[in-house]
């Protein structure tokens, strides 16, 4: 339950320095709960919100486990959250590497960082730090230099709390924890889940006025999920939770959902509940307040104001926000750093790398016959390289540039000086007669080099035939 969820994980949050902590700003106590929930005092650490969930296919943005959130609900604080992250600076630990005695402190010469770093070398609490900006600085007493540490990552962070750990070496402050706070309000691509494993991704923040509304109460749902999420997964529990929570909220009481509670027998050996079916207990709770027995409601389209053809199943369901958020996961690259050996784009989100276009992707494009696209992806956008090949000996490694003596080039007004013609010579043939240029992936040249290191010579035979 709590593993992937954002919640209220600690009461003493203000003074804690957990490495990384996902925190939900305004959690609620679930209306439908089990006996164990109360027994373990889970109310002290709630993990979700009782969202009004409507089950209908609306706009198409709720297909395939996507869900539509009500924009106004989000603006009122639904599923708002933070990530707390702590960075620890231990100067005693650092001393083991360079034996230099260090202290926190800012530079007296360079005052440009003074709006970010206080006179003690630590950041101001409450200050927003942008990526690449310094927030803490350390003074090295041996070299007499001050080195600031900059914020990593690609999003700004707010200094939430700074704590100083026990001053081990006499009176000098040697260990500091800086806690950063990053806002995580729901955006398209964030993941949410009910307690029945009905997880989904927010696909749209839909305007409140365009959401369907109940004719009787005027309520608009906080969240819309698609009815197709139910038949194959058979999560009847979620539907029952919705009805139970609706009844509970109408009657102003929490509902018990302890499993096997019906099988508990009293002293006479009878079941403690009268009815066979749970629905028979919940239905009358709804009808007593003028609602439909099965939790359905007549709704009007928010866009047109006309009645929707079907009655809509709507009710509160305890929804949790999961810690998988797009802002931590998105990966995008146009051009960027390349691997020095292969000259191909590097991998990894942190390093600003690309997503691998692998064999299966290649096969797929190949099957479509999209040859130019394939060439673009695998060659032009990757390690495109123009190699000089000696057509006489077939070598791509034995070629080298000849540096021309600087010639006095005539400057033509406004134009950049013309580039001196490249002269390439093959060391093996001692001539530049057979030099040709061939476009190839750079990794091919790397292959030739590696083979050469194993005493294998690779020769190319050039021809004009296609």
């Amino acid at each position: 339950m709590a593993k992937q969820t954002m919640g209220f994980s600690s009461q003493a949050l203000q003074f804690r320095t957990d490495n990384k902590l996902y925190h939900l700003q305004t959690p609620q106590s679930p209306i439908v709960r089990t006996a164990a929930y109360s027994k373990y005092c889970m109310d002290e650490f709630p993990t979700g919100t009782n969202a009004i969930v409507a089950v209908l296919a609306y706009t198409g943005y709720d297909m395939e486990d996507a869900m539509i959130l009500n924009k106004s609900s989000v603006e009122r604080g639904l599923f708002h959250g933070h990530i707390y992250q702590v960075e620890t600076f231990d100067l005693v630990e650092q001393r083991k590497f360079d034996q230099a005695f260090k202290l926190f402190g800012r530079s007296n010469i360079d005052k440009s960082k003074n709006d970010l770093i206080d006179s003690d070398g630590l950041p101001y609490v409450g200050q927003m730090i942008n990526p690449g900006e310094p927030f803490i600085s350390v003074h090295n007493t041996i070299t007499n230099t001050t080195k600031p540490t900059t914020l990593k990552g690609s999003e700004p962070a707010i200094v939430d709390y700074v704590s100083i750990d026990g001053t081990t070496s006499k009176d000098f402050m040697q260990k500091v924890n800086v806690r950063f706070r990053r806002r995580r309000n729901p955006v398209i691509g964030d993941k949410f889940s009910s307690r029945h494993g009905q997880k989904g991704v927010c696909s749209q923040l839909w305007p409140d006025i365009d959401m369907p509304f109940s004719a009787a109460t005027g309520m608009r749902p906080d969240l819309i999920i698609n009815p197709h999420a139910f038949p194959s997964r058979m999560t009847i529990g979620m539907l029952l939770e919705s009805i139970a929570a609706k009844g509970g909220s109408l009657h102003g009481k929490f509902m018990d959902a302890t499993p096997f509670a019906n099988s508990i027998k009293d002293a006479d050996g009878r079941s403690t509940t009268d009815s066979e079916s749970l629905v028979d207990e919940l239905g009358p709770m709804l009808t007593s307040y003028g609602f439909n027995y099965h939790g359905l409601e007549v709704m009007y389209s928010g866009v047109l104001g006309t009645e929707l053809a079907c009655e809509i199943f709507i009710g509160p369901v305890y929804y949790q926000r999961l810690r998988h958020m797009v802002s931590d996961k998105f990966q995008v690259r146009s051009t960027g750093t390349v691997d020095p050996v292969t000259r191909q784009p590097i991998k990894g989100r942190k390093a600003g790398g690309g997503i691998r276009f692998g064999e299966m992707e290649r096969d797929s494009v190949l099957a479509h016959g999209a040859a130019y696209l394939l060439h673009d992806r695998l060659h032009t956008c990757s390690d495109y390289h123009i190699a000089d090949v000696c057509s006489l000996c077939g070598s791509i490694l034995a070629t080298s540039f000849i540096q021309h003596q600087k010639r006095a080039t005539r400057h033509i007004g406004g134009l950049p000086p013309g580039r001196a013609p490249k002269k390439v010579i093959c060391h093996a043939c001692k001539t530049s007669k057979g030099m040709e240029t061939v476009a190839m992936p750079f990794i091919f040249r790397q292959l030739a080099v590696e083979l050469a290191a194993m005493n294998v010579k690779m020769t190319l035979q050039l021809s004009d035939q296609a």
Partner: protein, 329 residues
């Protein structure tokens, strides 16, 4: 303009009116008009809300953004909002909230010195001009103080809580309230709930009804979750007691079919009359909310009408503009 006019003259009849609640009938118009009115009330009637917060000291348990968000959601009295300017098109200032035409400044300065928990509430917000704008509960208290007969009990009202303080904690900030609409952010929405229903037209087939026994009648009447029908204790006839309680849930029709008496009752929605329920947040009176909504709807329609014969029409309305222009010629 040639052609038939589709102009209609909708009628409004107010049924119940309180400061924050209004129930009225809207007749002789269609669903598009009713829904337009609902949408404008929810998202386009302007109010004031705190939009800019400068925090000087915050040693409370809540972080700055959290407090700023909470301040934003406090409903402020916005009777003057219609005549105020949006700070983005205010010429007198550059939208920094220093001018009386577009903004109101608030300050909050609370420090807890006792061992008891101190609640910081909306009453601690000091408005630069309380006559224009202040938190709604403060305004309610002020009006109640003037009226000795009011049922308002100030001891029950503790204000809208912002944060709780313990000894030594302090919150000091400056906030600027600006004009805005609910479409931009829900905090500017003056309506808590706006809903309408089609007025039902219920006809009981008396002949068929008489074929039922009293027991059957009773079970049929009870099949509706809302109390629409009842049995007259004297004549033992089924009568419609509250047609508007009907929610179009078809329960009674299904029940009649299950009893083998289809056509026992015939219920239709009147296409041209609506019953509106409007609940206000308190920022403006519910009645004023409806009036403002109509005014804004008219302004929007004027904007369409005035731009009809201009070329900009195409840019603004795309195909719709071309269509409108085409029909105008």
């Amino acid at each position: 303009m040639e052609g038939i006019s589709y102009q209609r003259f909708p009628k409004v009849k107010i049924r119940e009116m309180k400061d924050d609640y209004l129930k009225f009938e809207l007749r002789e118009t269609d669903a598009s008009m009713a829904n337009a009115l609902r949408r404008v009330m929810l998202a386009e009637v302007p109010t004031l809300a705190i939009d800019l917060v400068e925090i000087e000291v915050n040693s409370t348990v809540l972080n700055d953004e959290f407090i700023a968000h909470r301040l934003g959601l406090i409903p402020l009295t916005s009777d003057r909002a219609m005549s105020m300017r949006f700070s983005r098109d205010c010429d007198a200032c550059d939208g920094d909230g220093q001018c009386e035409f577009c903004s109101v400044e608030f300050t909050l300065n609370v420090r807890c010195t006792s061992d008891h928990t101190l609640d910081v509430t909306s009453t601690d917000l000091r408005s630069s001009d309380p006559t224009i704008c202040c938190p709604v509960d403060v305004a309610a208290r002020a009006t109640a103080a003037l009226d000795p007969n009011s049922a308002y009990d100030p001891s029950e009202q503790r204000g809208i809580i912002i944060v709780k303080l313990r000894r030594g904690q302090e919150l000091r900030l400056r906030a600027i309230a600006r004009k805005g609409i609910g479409k931009d952010h829900a905090k500017w929405s003056p309506a808590a709930t706006v809903t309408f229903m089609y007025e039902p037209d219920i006809h009981i087939n008396e002949d068929l009804m008489e074929t039922l026994t009293l027991e059957e009648k009773r079970s049929w009447v009870e099949s509706s979750p809302t109390k629409v029908f009842d049995i007259d204790p004297n004549t033992q006839q089924v009568v419609v007691v509250d047609p508007e309680a009907y929610t179009y849930d078809d329960e009674v029709i299904k029940k009649a079919e299950a009893m083998g008496k289809p056509g026992l009752v015939d219920i239709n929605a009147k296409e041209d009359s609506f019953i509106f329920t409007v609940e206000s947040t308190g920022a403006i009176k519910a009645s004023q909310l409806v009036i403002n909504a109509i005014e804004i709807l008219r302004q929007k329609l004027d904007a369409v009408r005035l731009s009809l014969d201009t070329e900009e029409c195409d840019e603004q309305f795309g195909e719709l503009g071309a269509h409108l222009r085409g029909s105008a010629v």
